[in-house]
Symmetry: C2
Subunit: 416 residues, 2 copies
């Protein structure tokens, strides 16, 4: 079963908005055995939408559009879909009722005709009720092809996918099981890794696909397969994982969570062993804390964090000594380690991570080269740090530092 995602909106094509909807939809559809053949982002333009729909209809079984369903004049998706189906828009009473309910609960201003008009949908469509907004989703069929139109506002789209689209697709199709397993590998480059595991890779069964995903100091190695016998596929992939791990014993850091990433692996382990974490950040500016707290359940292990951006915050609040700063500068092993130890004490945690560095583009309160970052880990038995140079792009330095800090912590907690 193949699907295409069509995201509609000029904001995507001028780079004002990053398309996060497609990745969400792709992940959810994958779980029920629907593969995404292509993602196409197009303009709010009638001719372009019509062309994209007819092209997609030739390629795939399921077409999912997002965007362009708002009440204002620049939103033309609904009318264009009606035209594609030689259809007219008719008022749907259940959608109108939903709009009126939402309005009463959340909006203080008057319900306008343009909002009532959001209850107009193609007569051949079935509405997908949007409990979080006034734009309904729509489900249409043409022969054996399914067309689904969803609003572009991420949380409205997400709820419609989860509670309406997925259950209805599962009802309609007998989908294969799709399995992805991703190994987290650190401290080895793509080509060296490929050389190391070459004979294993060459011996992989044809229906198990391998991909290398390098990203800023970490590497993900993904095995993918699909079929109808879930138990057998799981076993086959597990067998391959068991074979490859001994080849990358030093560099292998665990399996990425099926829904998550390295911070989820850390969170699960810390929760399991009932250990806690605190974070002291300078150059990463809250990004390490944010990685943990964006997932639910963080309060089980995360005591808190401190972003000591100004040097005086490091001395006043984290009690890093002025002597250390004068002798070694704020970007130094001594300061990183003091930050980690003092954060551990301040928050009364088992572990603490600290980062201090210069993310650039210009030098700050230290002479350290742009890109220099010290990362320290405090444990119950001591503290240690490492120094890195992550280059001279600010975003890259921050992201690499976050990834490296998570890697160091991951290795530490699985060591004990």
């Amino acid at each position: 079963m193949l699907a295409e995602i069509i995201t509609i909106g000029d904001e995507l094509l001028i780079g004002q908005v990053v398309d996060t909807n497609s990745a969400f939809i792709a992940k959810q559809l994958n779980k029920i055995g629907v593969s995404i053949y292509q993602i196409t982002s197009i303009q709010d333009d009638k001719a372009h939408i019509l062309k994209a729909l007819s092209d997609a209809e030739k390629r795939v079984d399921i077409i999912i559009c997002t965007g362009g369903l708002g009440p204002t004049k620049d939103d033309i998706t609904k009318k264009t879909i009606a035209q594609y189906f030689n259809d007219i828009l008719v008022k749907d009473e259940s959608v109108l009722q939903n709009i009126e309910t939402i309005w009463k609960q959340h909006v203080r201003t008057e319900l306008l005709q343009v909002n009532k008009d959001q209850a107009l949908i193609p007569s051949k469509s079935k509405p997908l009720m949007n409990k979080l907004g006034t734009a309904p989703g729509m489900w249409l069929e043409k022969g054996d092809k399914v067309f689904i139109s969803l609003p572009g506002v991420p949380y409205e789209m997400e709820a419609l996918i989860e509670y309406q689209v997925i259950p209805q697709l599962k009802d309609k199709y007998n989908c294969p099981f799709i399995l992805h397993k991703t190994l987290l590998v650190y401290g080895i480059g793509e080509s060296a890794l490929a050389a190391r595991i070459e004979s294993w890779e060459d011996a992989l069964p044809k229906h198990i696909k391998l991909a290398y995903l390098p990203n800023l100091g970490k590497m993900r190695l993904r095995l993918s397969t699909k079929g109808f016998d879930e138990a057998k596929l799981r076993q086959e992939v597990q067998d391959q994982i068991d074979k490859v791990i001994p080849l990358i014993k030093e560099e292998y850091a665990g399996l990425e969570d099926e829904d998550g990433s390295v911070e989820v692996v850390i969170a699960k382990q810390l929760t399991k062993v009932a250990r806690t974490l605190a974070i002291a950040e300078s150059c990463t500016g809250g990004a390490v804390a944010e990685r943990f707290t964006s997932h639910s359940g963080a309060s089980a292990f995360f005591k808190g964090g401190i972003v000591t951006y100004a040097t005086e915050s490091k001395t006043n609040i984290l009690k890093v000594t002025k002597a250390d700063i004068e002798a070694h500068s704020v970007v130094s092993a001594q300061v990183a380690e003091a930050m980690a130890k003092n954060a551990q004490q301040l928050f009364q945690s088992d572990y603490a991570i600290a980062t201090t560095g210069n993310a650039g583009p210009t030098k700050g309160d230290s002479d350290a080269e742009v890109g220099t970052v010290f990362i320290a880990i405090a444990t119950k038995t001591g503290v240690y740090s490492e120094v890195f140079n992550f280059g001279n792009s600010r975003i890259k330095v921050i992201n690499k530092a976050v990834n490296k800090a998570l890697e160091m912590l991951l290795k530490e907690i699985f060591k004990n």
Copy 2:
């Protein structure tokens, strides 16, 4: 001048990676007058790449591909492009030299044949030298169409776009000037806003396009135009902005920075008036701090932040009184305001923002409903807070709280 971006990689189609490359490329090309007609994400599959290239060639003048240029077996873009051009791969000495230089500087392991093979490029192509990685970019021409292939690793791609692609496209084409101006509007829904500015919108000149971009509690209103007379276009758009602002006086919060967003507007203003900021976060977990520190120049105004995730961190470090917590719970106006005031004092800042709430999915150390968030702003003259309910999706609650906190601060700093 029209372009299409083709992003290649199974990781995009299974939702493992969000395509951020396209938005970056679109934004940069827009600045030199190249419009993106479509963005297409496809699989690492020869037939699919060939089809996407030939489809794009019919639609646009410039085709930019990213991804699939690594040294490993799953990367097939280069071979496929050679096939599309009926070409063979030949060794480029300048690329090989670049690979050897990078290897010497950054890699401790041996240079392998697969890495040397990255110097193989189609004989008809001109290499675009990648100083940050071993995969070169490539520039090919076919009649009056340009094909550009870039690695998918974001920072390598970004540097190639900035230093190679943009200058060479500017040399080749006489591009029009493209202008986007975005007004930040808060506290009014899409349809109410549209009704309010209807007569202004209807009277807009045909060559100025209007778009509504609602997103989690904020609204962006974008005016776009293009042409060859930059000064005239700027004046025309400015005239329209001057006309619409009086219609949305209460809700208008400023112009979005051409390259940035609301936190950039705040950063510029705080830096200009030499005021400083501190942040105390509970439910937003570092996300507010991260929004500011991801941009360079944050150290000019940002003193630091604290993430008091555990209740005991609020009392021990931020000195919120146990009496306040017992009387009102950790999710309350009293605690939010105490957090803001005490963070202001702790970091010795002019302003402070504080958030405390329940992002869900389950209730934490408070009986407050999931989605309840208190946001407080401390200024030199006092402190105040507001309460919100942002629904029951964790990511949505966090993002809405961050946006609302920035909105409150924006209004505050422009008030004084």
